[in-house]
Subunit: 169 residues, 8 copies
């Protein structure tokens, strides 16, 4: 079981990708909103109950001065995966990236790419898959499909040429 | 009364400047270490008791993914002044600046310059001075002294010339 | 009473947020345009009369090479809150952020996030609220409402699911 | 069992921290040098044998255009933890941070702070600890010790004052 | 013969420019998709067969944590030209620029400007042209045409004036 | 007489502002296209004839790796004003800003803000105005008009209120 | 006559270069300290008297949130040359560069490179030299000497070889 | 034959690496100083004679606003390899990187890493090696030696352990 949280409901458009890929990989999860700055007590309780709820990892997405992933990490021994979100008044995403990534020694956050919620989901599945053969197999298959898609585009270019068609752009 | 906190005792070399200038301006204060990531419960308690302890503002310094100022701001209605500290593995200070400055709408942190603990102290005194004539007068005198020091350097250059002496560099 | 100024009337679309939140929090204010670069004398006069007009703090918004907040701070002992504005030819907002934030020792500006006029208003109210119980109570209520809005989105997701609906995107 | 690799023996001064903390937390590991650019075949073999060697996670450190963590991640379904290293001709560390963090959808790398090898070790232990109660307990104790150290500095300041002594700086 | 590869078919809209200019300069080429992260074995094989296929240079375009150019360079002695692509979740292109440019000593990538596929094609032709007089002549003519186009705009301004017409903006 | 040049006719949409303000300030000028990279000989000739053509300053605008202003400055003793232009594949304008601004000791370029062609024109007029009373008077009047426009917006807000009207946004 | 000012006497180590090169080029100048933030009235007076003192240009150096060049420019019609200084708590010099360069339309500052006081002096001489043949001739000679120094190093390498000697590094 | 040039003799400490590796790889070369800004005519002549002198490629190193590589590229059809040099007043190397890399369409520069003169030499050899079997064989051997050095460090760690010895740091 994976916990997925985000600082605001508006982040759902990004964070839903984590849920979708976990569904695809057969890993259970729960999604909710927990704000470090607007509901600090709720964040405390969420992080402190994470182990007893059976979570194996927590995915936390936030934008701007993004404190949610790091604060949750300070309150649990579970691995916390941080998703920097490029929100509207963000300075090109640098603020969320740096305030999630640059955690002090002792309290890591496993940071993924800007808006990388899909990768956060895959990473959570990889953590489970390191101990669960069924999930490991699904990850293998997932990797195969990535490859297949590339090979299909190889064939497409071989058959239809490399010049992008005017229409479609 | 002003509360001064920092994420680690090693930050004291920067943050002590805030204490020194508050002493000079006649504003009482308390200094201690409160770590958002290593002592989150202590941070909660500190922030929630700040009003009843009679604080008028809190100065919080932190480096890297600096969550202390913003988290304290989420837990009190007092003005919180954030001091970004350029710590050893910081990415040139950008991480602490952005993770303190870029707070979401609803929870401000009054951010000062990188390593700007002295200015944090002055700002806290200005907040008090907006309601306390004695402190306001001390701030006026402080501003006069800034000016005097510039005028002394003007005289120094007039008398000793503008070419920097070899010795001293 | 809070003074709200900005470098150009076109900044009003950002800075009006400061006025709106001060209205909501029951703190009086005045809004006008004062340009550091186009009306330097007016800026001098504004800053020097701020105390006698009964202001407790000044909120100053500016973009690009944003000198208004820092120059006003050099001319008054009141706390000055700076709002970096991302104007049209700004280099991603870095210019306004750095030219407001990085004030030299002796002359602080309380800087908020890029385009963070709402937070500037809240911070000004917090300064007043540190000495005025009525405003402090309104700030408490404001914080409660932030929490309520998060909890409503929690319920919304519980009832309607986490998958963003196609429509609305 | 955790695999720890780095692009060059000179990275050992940073990466040894990962080994030290895994020792402290009672998690087995292996350390070696694997270069993406100088020994690509060795990297392929290392990554492809990681599961059968019983690794639960791989920690990979690299500097500059740091391709090792991402390439290993492309070749295994295990979680890969990336440590950006600030090497000599690095552009302030930005190159290693971005070339590890910004992985495309499908192939995540769990990135930690610049030079954050200690946190990489803790994160690997957290992954193991999510499934192994003994390690989980050690992580709890580790967190307690972080807290204790902060509280000791609190006492130190209470007893010896906040003014940094001249000697020692 | 030049090999042109890219990490994803969606990069074709940028990379096709390399093909177009090589056509114009009379240099043969092959275009296909090779993904470092999704088809690492294919990338290995592609790079290792490049010499025997008669390639004189390889142009590789990729975005985000762009490992394709550097990894191909690690697997061949041919010159590799890297094209940083500004992909959708890129942090303003910095990620692809730095992860292609900042290669460690021993394994160069000839990096061109962000989205600079056309220049990558010209550079590949210049490599061929350094040994092939026909191509060198075509490059000379190409340079003449660049000049002619500038001189035409000089004439246009002389005849039609420098004030941009309202229509067209 | 001021020479205004730019690297490409497409820069005219930005650079025309320099011409417009020089017209307004009564300073003569010539506008043409000179490309450092496509017409290097033309650039040489242009720069070397600038003094004998009676130019008092040269305004040069360019984007990306913007070498035009600096190269012209290397070929004349006249003051050269550089306008960094944010072109389409620019990395947020940083490339043009830095390649114009950071000239080595001995060869200055007077750099203005990104896309700041209007200011380049004013600066050129200020150079003339330092020696020509008529232009100096026009610059004074220009400064007065800047002030008047601010004062009109002050009146507008006093009369129509500070709340931006819904329409117009 | 050129006015040279700087925000603090500690900037003299950088700014003295402007004086030295103006001496060499035979252009008169005055050097003093004027602080925008600590002596705003002095700055006003300095700028407003610049024309009547016979200045042809003002060189202003400042670090951090560097407001001196821009504010002086707002108060005079003379050309103002800004020198960004990399001061101790500067964020790598970006703060001073951007707060001098990015002036709003209407009020230009002729910005030179970080710590580029020598170039500021040359630029001031070029402004004078555009109207004064004696100075123009000295600038020509100065340019010749730059060339001579390069040609001497060409000869040095031809005679002594290109391998840097161990001693001297 | 490869031409190696740099903007200043002080760059030789970086650029000599290009010469050393070309010696090792058996490719002839010539090293001299050519300054774009101080000896523009010499630069013109150098670039225009490059083909007739039998050069196959030109390596050009420069710092700050680095125009040498791009200007040489504008004057020859040979491949030009640019080496950004981190000079003393550089803004962390960004200025030289961007002013070499971001060349406009039509005039490519093959840019290598900051201070990457060794890689510039290897790249030049790769260009020659694409047409010259002897050099290609030397490049293969060079690649083998890179691998050998990594494998030696693998053995070193296996035999002497991974804990860095106190002495040596």
């Amino acid at each position: 079981m994976i916990g997925i949280i985000m600082g605001s409901q508006s982040d759902l458009i990004v964070m839903a990708e984590a849920g979708r890929v976990l569904e695809e990989l057969g890993v259970g999860f729960e999604i909710t909103v927990v704000s470090a700055h607007r509901t600090p007590e709720r964040m405390f309780e969420y992080a402190q109950k994470a182990v007893e709820k059976g979570f194996r990892a927590i995915i936390a997405g936030a934008g701007g001065a993004a404190h949610l992933p790091g604060m949750v990490a300070s309150l649990t021994t579970l691995p916390v995966i941080g998703v920097p979100i490029k929100s509207s008044n963000s300075i090109d995403g640098w603020d969320s990236v740096l305030s999630i990534l640059q955690m002090p020694a002792g309290v890591p956050v496993a940071t993924v790419a800007l808006n990388g919620a899909k990768n956060a989901g895959i990473l959570a599945a990889q953590i489970v898959g390191a101990f669960d053969e069924t999930v490991a197999q699904k990850l293998k298959k997932f990797k195969e499909e990535l490859k297949t898609k590339v090979l299909e585009s190889v064939t497409d270019i071989e058959q239809n040429g490399w010049k992008p068609k005017k229409i479609g752009f």
